[in-house]
Point group: C2
Chain length 232, copies 2
C-alpha cells in the first residue's frame, strides 16, 4: 500500500483521500461531528452556502479571511462549538482553502477530513477503506503549501505507518515526516506557520492551541454524498 502527501491539492484518483485544512476547517468539522452534528455540508461559495442552509434548515457556518461572515450562525473557530450540543442537527460550512481542496479531491473513492485532533482515528479509518493508495491532501493557504497542513499530514502519516509498517511513503510524505521528527511540538509548528501567525494576529491564538491537541477526538468526517459529510 502506498502513501502520498499532496502539499497542494491536485486532481487525480485515489482509493482514499484525506483532506487536511488544520487551521481550521477540518479541525472544526471534526469537532462539529464529535459534538453530535448529524450532517455537514462543505461548500466553497458563500452564496451557495446561504441557499443550501435555507433549503436544509441548517446552521450556516463559515469564514472569509479568518472572520465570521455577516448573517451566519457561527464562524470557523472550533472553540465556538466546544460546548454546543449539536445532536441531530445539520450545518453548512463555507471556508476558503478547505472547501476548495474538498472539490479538487472529489475523484477519490472515499473522502475523509483529517486534522491533528483526530489523526489516529483518521489513520485507522483510512486503512480500513484503502486497497492500494492513501493520499493526504493538504489544502495549503492561498495557493501555497503551508507548514500547518504539512505537519498535520505528518501526524496522520505517522499513525498510518505505526498501524501498517509496510506502507510505502512517497518523497513528499517522507519530507513531512522528517519535518515533524525535527520539530515534534505541534503547537509551536502551528504558531510558526504563516497561517498560524495570521490567526494569532487576528486574535485566534487559542484556536491553534486546540488544533494542536493530538488525538483528542475520535470523530472522522466521511463523505456521504457530493459536499455532504457525516461520521465515518
Amino acid at each position: 500500500m502506498r502513501l502520498d502527501v499532496q502539499l497542494l491539492p491536485q486532481p487525480g484518483a485515489s482509493d482514499v483521500a484525506v483532506v487536511i485544512d488544520v487551521l481550521r476547517m477540518t479541525t472544526t468539522a471534526s469537532l462539529l461531528l464529535d459534538r453530535g452534528l448529524d450532517r455537514l455540508f462543505v461548500v466553497a461559495e458563500v452564496d451557495d452556502a446561504r441557499v443550501l442552509a435555507k433549503a436544509e434548515g441548517a446552521l450556516l457556518l463559515g469564514e472569509r479571511e479568518n472572520r465570521p461572515l455577516p448573517g451566519f450562525d457561527g464562524g470557523n473557530s472550533p472553540l465556538e462549538y466546544l460546548n454546543r450540543e449539536l445532536a441531530g442537527k445539520t450545518a453548512v460550512l463555507s471556508t476558503s482553502n478547505g472547501s476548495r481542496a474538498v472539490g479538487l479531491a472529489a475523484d477519490a473513492e472515499h473522502l475523509l477530513l483529517g486534522a491533528i485532533v483526530n489523526a489516529a482515528a483518521v489513520a485507522k479509518r483510512a486503512l480500513g477503506l484503502a486497497h492500494r493508495k492513501i493520499t493526504l491532501v493538504c489544502a495549503g493557504t492561498a495557493g501555497l503549501p503551508s507548514l500547518d497542513d504539512a505537519v498535520a499530514a505528518a501526524c496522520i502519516a505517522r499513525e498510518l505507518s505505526a498501524l501498517e509498517p509496510s506502507l510505502a511513503p512517497s518523497d513528499s510524505a517522507k519530507l513531512c515526516l522528517r519535518a515533524l521528527q525535527a520539530s515534534p511540538d505541534l503547537f509551536e509548528s502551528l504558531r510558526t506557520s504563516a497561517h498560524g501567525r495570521a490567526l494569532e494576529g487576528d486574535g485566534y491564538g487559542e484556536d491553534l492551541r486546540f488544533a494542536a491537541k493530538l488525538n483528542l477526538l475520535t470523530a472522522v468526517p466521511k463523505r456521504l454524498g457530493p459536499a455532504l459529510f457525516g461520521r465515518a
Copy 2:
C-alpha cells in the same frame, strides 16, 4: 528579504531563482563549469539539442530515463566529466526534469543553477543579486515533489540563513529546513528518494555519492541568455 522554496516549478517572477535538479542536471552543470566549460546551453527537447550542438560546434550531452542518448558525446552523470578538461568549450545539455524547470523559472530577473556540491557558493551569489526575494525552484521528478531536490534546497537555504539571518523563510522553506535537520546525512537522503533509488537500480549509485558532497565546488551556473549559462 524573503526566501521561498517551490517543491515543484511554478511560473512567477522573482529577483533570483535557483533551479535545483540535484539528481543530476544541476550537479552535472556545476561540475561542467568547474572543469572550465565556457558556455552551457540547457535545452528540454532532444531534437533542439542536436540542432543547437551542431550549429554551435558544441558537445552534445544529456539523458532520457537516466541513460545517455544515442549519438551524444556524453550522458548526465557527473562522474563522466570529473577528469575532463573543458576549458573554452561549449556544451548543450538536455535532460528531462531540470530543463523543464529552467523554462518555468524563466521570468526570474536572475537565474542560477544550484545543487548540494555548490550550495554555499550559490547562496553567496544569490544574496549578492537579490533585493526582495530568492526562490529555490525544485525540479521534482516526473511532476511530483522529490526528496532529493527538497534536501538540496534545504542545504542552500541553510547557507542563505547563515549568511543573512534576517532572511524570512516561507512555510515550504521551513518544511525543507526541518527535514534536513532531522536527517542531516545527505547521501542517505539522496538514496532514500524515489529518483535516487531508481538511479541506484540503473547502476548510477556513485553519482549519488558525488551529488551529496556538500560545498565541493565553487562554480555557479548563471543564465547569460535564453537557455544559456556560464560561470556567475
